[in-house]
């Protein structure tokens, strides 16, 4: 394998993992926008999406149907979670919601373990052939599916936030709760809606990554940290930021593990992340609402 094709293969793999991080980061950002809190349950929804898809695939033998149904189920889980633990808070603030989301993450993880089991599960990719070879470059077809599905989802999200009345209401409430309420936005339901979107993005990430990596109940925290890092890297609360941050982190990991050391892959990714944050604290695309003192 000469260097040119190695670089292209790493590029594709990096964009593949980066897409997953971008989806998780998007979930983080949506909840952050509506509550100001870090949502620690985000990674658990990824795992739940993957494992539910596997269970449904075993029952129906239809991958696309299984993934679709799983994503719908996790959206409901996201909505129910918000109603059960966030909504009852009498005086919600960002810190309290963050702490509560840690409890939610612990409960979600153990629920996944008790209901769906401890064993890693998986299913075949969306295409019948596993790999594709063009001009000496081998790529996994599932990686292409991941990139494609993510792209379609991000475009849909963009249209949702820019064109639909619901998306506009969400943005209005995130910008100024009181002003949004005055013009008739039901602010209380926007938090629930943001949890639904976050769960959707997480579950989708889980459903499309599982054929490559398998899913087990204890992976949620790592997915969450990576997604959080991607969100910080791109700029917290920004939709294009999630994409840029996710791709940057994915590529960093792919090239770092190939050229430096796969043992230190995570350390390299986090070290570069810290360096970038020191130099550009608001992330690549974040607005400069970070105040220097």
């Amino acid at each position: 394998m000469h260097t040119g094709s190695a670089v292209i293969q790493l590029l594709v793999a990096g964009i593949g993992t980066g897409s997953i991080y971008a989806l998780i980061a998007l979930g983080f950002n949506v909840v952050f926008k509506s509550t100001g809190a870090m949502n620690f349950a985000q990674g658990e929804w990824v795992v739940m999406g993957g494992m539910t898809s596997a269970l449904l695939f075993a029952a129906t033998n239809n991958i696309l149907l299984a993934c679709l149904a799983a994503v719908l189920i996790i959206i409901v889980v996201g909505i129910v979670s918000e109603r059960l633990v966030i909504w009852p808070l009498r005086r919600p603030n960002a810190l309290l919601i963050t702490l509560v989301s840690i409890g939610l993450a612990i409960c979600t993880r153990s629920l996944v373990m008790l209901v769906l089991g401890k064993k890693p599960v998986g299913y075949p990719g969306f295409s019948s052939t596993a790999t594709l070879e063009v001009a000496g470059i081998t790529v996994q077809t599932q990686t292409l599916w991941i990139i494609g599905v993510t792209l379609v989802f991000l475009i849909a999200m963009h249209l949702f936030f820019e064109r639909s009345i619901m998306g506009k209401a969400l943005r209005a409430a995130a910008a100024d709760r009181d002003a949004a309420a005055i013009v008739g936005v039901r602010v209380e339901t926007t938090v629930m809606l943001s949890f639904a979107i976050a769960a959707l993005a997480g579950a989708l990430a889980g459903a499309i990554i599982t054929p490559l990596t398998l899913s087990s109940y204890d992976q949620g925290a790592m997915f969450g940290f990576k997604g959080f890092s991607a969100a910080m890297l791109g700029g917290v609360g920004s939709l294009p930021g999630a994409i840029v941050g996710g791709l940057a982190l994915g590529l960093l990991e792919a090239f770092g593990s190939f050229y430096i050391s796969s043992d230190f892959k995570d350390a390299i990714a986090f070290a570069v992340l810290l360096l970038i944050l020191f130099v550009r604290p608001s992330g690549f695309l974040g607005r400069a609402d970070v105040v220097k003192v």
């Binding site: 100001g36 870090m38 620690f40 633990v85 009852p88 808070l89 009498r90 005086r91 603030n93 960002a94 810190l95 309290l96 963050t98 702490l99 509560v100 840690i102 409890g103 939610l104 993450a105 612990i106 409960c107 993880r109 153990s110 629920l111 373990m113 008790l114 925290a221 940290f225 959080f228 890092s229 910080m232 917290v236 043992d263 230190f264 995570d266 350390a267 986090f270 070290a271 992340l273 810290l274 944050l277 020191f278 604290p281 970070v290 105040v291 220097k292 003192v293």
Partner: protein
């Protein structure tokens, strides 16, 4: 940064006639705890008590940073681990005494906090959380992969206990007085710190950074000082841990542990001087109690946490005050 609800236990002087100062209460509680080794049915209970004192240092220092300083660190277990490995490796690889390891651990963790704090604490918001999370994740990779120094995933073996000449503190009963004393000293230090000029500055910065700056407090230096100080305390806890257990392994110091420590501060009562003692007791005891439930352990733990936070956002230490308020409103 969100302003945390503050418990006034440290500042307010209640008008009750039997009122004791916080110093006196602390000493009473600590001397009462001295009965543990005499009443404990077996060495196992004493070893749990020893762990509780170490956890008190950890959670009280995080509470100083989080509850009073308003900064959330997701890397406290990382500093704890750095202290443990610094002290342990100095003993195992360089043959230095644990008494050298303890101050070295505090010094090096404090220095590490200084290096992270200088760029990060100039910013407001989530940045300390993010940076400390990344720092903790990097440390765990290093603990695992620098096998020649740390022993890797199998852990650091052959750590020697604290000793006075030939008298080694090598069982739970002999270790008890040491961890008891160090935990007391740390709690006293925190209490005195909060009463000092700089302690008041810390709370002023957490409440309103701009306001604090306006009255002449250097908010950056204040945040940096409290961050370095609390990291150093975590380093002390780490050194105690490694020489008491004579072992350390990377998973004890994971990001998940850091998150659990934040949770324990919140459950005990963020910004309350007494909260961390409750938090540490729960952190030490609950896993033992829930062992019988095996798989349901996590679930019960998560549910309990949610209930405490939803019912009493000021944590367990906030419940008496809430009850007092409720009863005061009703005519007797």
């Amino acid at each position: 940064m969100t302003v945390l609800p503050m418990n006034t236990a440290v500042t307010a002087r209640a008008a009750r006639p039997w009122h004791l100062s916080d110093h006196a209460r602390l000493l009473i509680v600590w001397f009462a705890l001295l009965v543990i080794p005499f009443l404990a049915p077996n060495a196992y209970v004493v070893s749990l008590a020893n762990m509780m004192f170490i956890n008190i240092i950890l959670i009280a220092s995080l509470n100083l940073l989080m509850g009073y300083g308003g900064q959330i660190s997701l890397g406290h277990a990382g500093f704890y681990g750095l202290g443990a490995y610094v002290s342990g490796v100095l003993g195992v690889k360089f043959g230095l005494s644990a008494w050298v390891g303890l101050p070295a651990a505090a010094l090096i963790t404090g220095l590490a906090a200084l290096l992270i704090g200088i760029p990060v604490l100039r910013l407001r918001g989530l940045y300390l959380s993010m940076a400390t999370l990344g720092w903790n994740a990097i440390l765990v990779v290093l603990f695992n992969r620098l096998v020649d120094i740390t022993g890797g995933p199998n852990g650091l073996l052959g750590v020697r206990p604290f000793s006075f000449g030939d008298f080694a503190l090598d069982n739970d009963f002999r270790q008890f007085p040491l961890v008891w004393l160090v935990a007391l000293l740390v709690m006293l230090a925190i209490l005195n710190f909060l009463r000092s000029r700089i302690g008041r500055a810390v709370r002023a910065v957490a409440t309103n950074e701009l306001g604090a700056d306006a009255v002449g407090i250097d908010s950056f230096r204040t945040k940096l000082l409290v961050f370095v100080l609390t990291a150093g305390m975590a380093g002390i806890a780490g050194s105690l841990y490694v020489h008491v257990n004579q072992f350390a392994s990377p998973e004890t110091f994971s990001v998940s542990s850091s998150i659990l420590l934040v949770v324990m501060v919140a459950i005990g009562g963020s910004g309350s001087f007494w909260g961390p003692i409750l938090g540490a007791a729960i952190y030490t005891a609950v896993p033992q109690v829930l062992l019988d439930y095996e798989d349901a352990e996590l679930m019960l733990f998560g549910l309990a946490m949610l209930i405490v936070l939803i019912v009493s956002p000021t944590g367990l230490a906030g419940i008496p005050a809430a009850l007092r308020r409720r009863f005061a409103r009703r005519p007797a």
